[in-house]
């Protein structure tokens, strides 16, 4: 039974699944409330929720911010994998701190400050998740470009997303070759399981060489195509930059979004001063 379960989890966690989640995260939710926001407004919003919580220790205010970013994360319909990684990251960090505190003579009084820390980390992370995975890469890079980031950076972001599925596909194919032709050690006993793990790690390391070569071979065409499509020419042209940014427009809804966030923060501040 347990065997079956672990197999089905492993099955789910295939490269195919990862690739699907990456794509879903980047482009699957282009119609959510968060995805259609103007990236400049969202980046400003992020500047607030990504920085301010670090400097405030008021629990009510932090809780208020946390609830708000949780709502925005839900609105952005972030892919499950990202949320899972986020939860794993946050709780392993603070859980580890708690254990260390308890081991080295701390007592239950350490829980409260740790809770505050967890709340801060969670709020900031969720704000990042909202902005960076709620927005699709192109809108994000346009927003960054508006704030003066170089064109090359913003192109790299969207091109990385274009390449990532291809890289993962290549990687998957190489792993499949190992799976079809390799001879992994039996993994029924405990030492066998360890040997199996070492084998898997070895395979992943060995996969690197064919992966890089295959990708390099593919990118030759891409480099020439970019040259023909005038990528180098555009990087130095102000006019092109203006045209790219012309698609950014702040709508009423963006203002409402900013106003609601502002109101929410104001109310929590008010509450914290009353309580």
């Amino acid at each position: 039974m347990l065997n079956k379960l672990s197999e089905s989890i492993l099955d789910k966690f295939s490269m195919d699944f990862l690739r699907n989640q990456v794509l879903k995260n980047a482009y699957g939710n282009d119609d959510t409330l968060i995805a259609v926001r103007d990236p400049r407004v969202l980046l400003l919003w992020y500047l607030f929720f990504g920085l301010v919580p670090w400097f405030v220790n008021d629990i009510v205010f932090l809780l208020g911010c946390f609830v708000l970013v949780m709502i925005t994360t839900l609105l952005a319909r972030v892919a499950g994998l990202v949320l899972f990684l986020f939860a794993l990251g946050v709780f392993s960090q603070t859980g580890y701190l708690l254990i260390v505190t308890l081991l080295f003579g701390g007592d239950a009084s350490a829980i409260l400050p740790l809770l505050v820390l967890t709340l801060k980390v969670t709020t900031v992370s969720l704000a990042s998740v909202t902005v960076f995975s709620g927005l699709d890469p192109d809108r994000l890079s346009n927003g960054l470009m508006w704030y003066g980031c170089p064109e090359r950076l913003s192109f790299s972001i969207s091109y990385a997303y274009r390449m990532l599925p291809m890289l993962m596909e290549e990687f998957q194919n190489v792993l499949l070759s190992y799976r079809l032709r390799g001879n992994p050690p039996a993994h029924d006993s405990i030492p066998g399981k360890i040997r199996y793990l070492i084998y898997q790690v070895k395979v992943i390391v060995h996969s690197f060489y064919p992966l890089m070569l295959n990708t390099a071979k593919r990118s030759r065409t891409t480099v020439e195509a970019l040259e023909i499509k005038g990528y180098r020419y555009a990087a130095s042209s102000k006019e092109v930059r203006r045209m790219k940014l012309a698609s950014l427009k702040i709508s009423y809804d963006d203002l409402i979004f900013a106003a609601v966030s502002f109101l929410w923060v104001a109310v929590t501040m008010l509450l914290s001063s009353i309580l």
Binding site: D11, D16, F17, N20, L23, K24, A26, Y27, G28, D136, P137, D138, S158, Y159, Y161, R162, P165, E170, N173, V174, L176, S177, Y178, R179, L180, R181, G182, N183, P184, H206, S207, Y209, P210, L213, N214, K217, R218, S219, R220, T221, T222, E224, A225, L226, E227, I228, K229, G230, Y231, Y233, A234, S237, E239, V240, M243, K244
Partner: protein, 570 residues
């Protein structure tokens, strides 16, 4: 004025000791639809890169002579200016696409060159290439044929008068290939574009092109109207180009004295009907079908298998619905169907890379679920469509040896050497597989595939992306392999391969098996071939056009059948 004029052009790649192009002189008129043919490595792709200025602006090397595009010297214009005059679609076109959505990619070049109406231009190009309703789709939602059209649209958007395509239909089924050429014809006739294609499917050249240019050893051997060009059978074959089957058949009949000597040979089925009118009808007795062979032991079995894929957005995509299929020992099976019918999926299911969402797959009488991957690997082997993905080591000797070595197969060293010799790879044994030519890569991947002596060998498109000569060589290798393999299944679009190699043909369509039998049963069934969109080899259609009952699959069969007719009449 000629739209392309090349004067005494010689070009040598940096570091090479021999020029790729050697004193080429050429003039191409506006509105031409030109096929460029020639042996592998004769300089076709180089010639195209010279035209769009990548050579000498982006790739250096020794460049002599002059290339004029629309009267402008390419050495004096930069790549950007030339891109607006010459559009280029690569053979590996999917790597040419750099943006995530369709409209974005089509208009990207226009945006980069600062054209204010870039979106309108992108839209117009998409419409010209038949992609008008897909503007907001993501590129991974497109099929192979549509991706090619998008790459074409990206080039068309800049409004060039000349379009160059490097082997546009190498990976496509006939339906998609027709669509690409239909679009090209429209661009040529309606929008007056000059079109240059590197192509070795001479059937398509006969149907669509106006002129043919033969390159030989870096020189332009000749430049002729299409029918005249394809009639030069011997010269073409010397350059490893195979004229349409109709032309070959006519050539053979001419040699037998059944067709008047000299003059142009037919190149299309329509022309063939005219030309073969004078030949007396053979008295055709359909050979009795060979007695149905007792099917051997069952090797693999699909029982009510259903499969669906997760998709990025929306409902999962169903590939198979209650598919049933049994493979027997000793069969040579061809698996056919249009792009996306599920041929690759079926093979991935058999090797356990994909799991069915419903139903059961048995391999060697045992359910796949109960077998470990390494157990499966002993019984079955899959050779991918793209041979590069088979190479995981840095030499093909290591690659062939790998599976045997890790399993401690007895005498694996000698067996590796045997395999290298059998596939004529001994001289290349220490090279990296990725750096070999297409045919060598394919042979190496076949050697890797049969290294473990699998009882079932699966080959995904073994002849895709090969020029005709290499294709013939692989076909020969496959026929040789019949001696050492038990059961082989090939997924393919290549109907000549199907007819010359397979003894059982399985047709996939709409998620299930719609046809299963001998080639006569499948290709003889017009309703079936039309429904599924498969096309028998041209010679088969030619034979039936002349004589409805005739079922001939190869040129020699055709020549024998219709050559006999004369003798009977005498």
């Amino acid at each position: 004025m000629a739209s392309i004029k090349i004067e005494n052009l010689s070009y040598t790649y940096p570091g090479a000791d021999r020029p790729v192009l050697d004193h080429v002189d050429l003039e191409i008129m506006p509105g031409d639809f030109l096929a460029i043919v020639g042996n592998n490595g004769c300089g076709k792709s180089t010639l195209c890169k010279v035209l769009n200025g990548l050579i000498p602006h982006f790739i250096s090397g020794d460049f002599q002579g002059r290339v004029l595009i629309d009267g402008q010297d390419t050495r004096q214009a930069d790549v950007g200016v030339l891109a607006r005059k010459v559009g280029y679609v690569y053979q590996d076109f999917e790597n040419q696409i750099v943006r995530p959505t369709v409209l974005d990619d089509a208009s990207y070049a226009c945006l980069n060159y600062g054209m204010a109406d870039y979106q309108a231009r992108g839209r117009q190009a998409l419409a010209q290439c038949g992609l008008q309703n897909r503007e907001n789709e993501y590129i991974w939602q497109l099929s192979g044929g549509q991706t090619h059209l998008l790459a074409l649209a990206g080039a068309v958007a800049l409004g060039p008068d000349i379009l160059i395509l490097d082997e546009p239909i190498a990976q496509l089924d006939p339906g998609h290939a027709d669509r690409i050429y239909g679009v090209l014809r429209e661009l040529n006739e309606k929008y007056n574009k000059t079109i240059l294609v590197i192509e070795h499917h001479t059937e398509y050249i006969a149907d669509y092109c106006k002129h043919v240019l033969l390159l030989r050893d870096g020189r332009a051997a000749w430049y002729l109207p299409v029918r005249q060009a394809l009639s030069r059978v011997e010269e073409l074959q010397a350059s490893n180009i195979f004229p349409p089957q109709v032309t070959l058949a006519a050539h053979a009949l001419q040699a037998k004295g059944l067709l008047p000597a000299g003059g142009e040979l037919p190149t299309t089925i329509g022309e063939g009907q005219q030309a073969f009118r004078s030949i007396p009808r053979p008295e055709y007795h359909r050979p009795c079908p060979p007695p149905a062979r007792q099917p051997g032991q069952t090797v693999a079995e699909f029982q009510d298998v259903s499969v669906s894929y997760r998709s990025v957005k929306g409902e999962p995509h169903t590939v198979f619905h209650n598919l049933n299929l049994t493979l027997h020992k000793g069969e040579n099976i061809a698996l056919i169907g249009s792009n996306g019918a599920g041929k690759s999926t079926l093979m991935k299911l058999l090797v356990g890379l994909l799991r069915p969402t419903g139903g059961e797959i048995l391999l060697g009488g045992q359910s796949l679920k109960e077998q470990k991957p390494e157990q499966i690997a002993r019984k079955i082997s899959l050779v991918y469509q793209n041979p590069e993905e088979m190479f995981i080591k840095d030499s093909i000797r290591d690659d062939i040896a790998y599976a045997m070595q890790v399993r401690q197969v007895e005498n694996w060293q000698t067996r590796t050497e045997e395999l290298l010799a059998r596939f004529r790879l001994t001289d290349l044994a220490d090279r990296d597989g990725r750096l070999l030519s297409g045919g060598q890569m394919r042979r190496a991947s076949l050697a890797i595939g049969i290294a473990l002596n699998p009882s079932l060998l699966l080959l995904d498109e073994p002849t895709a992306n090969l020029d005709i000569a290499t294709r013939k060589e692989i076909l020969r290798t496959l026929n040789d392999m019949k001696a050492v393999t038990e059961t082989v299944m090939i997924a393919t679009h290549d109907m000549q391969l199907v007819c010359e190699w397979a003894d059982r043909v399985v047709v996939l369509c709409g998620g299930s098996v719609v046809g299963d039998g001998t080639r006569d049963a499948v290709f003889g069934d017009r309703a079936l071939t039309e429904r599924v969109g498969i096309r028998p080899p041209e010679i088969f259609a030619m034979g039936r056009a002349v004589c409805e009952e005739a079922l001939c699959y190869t040129v020699p069969e055709f020549v024998q059948l219709f050559g006999e007719g004369k003798r009977n009449a005498e």
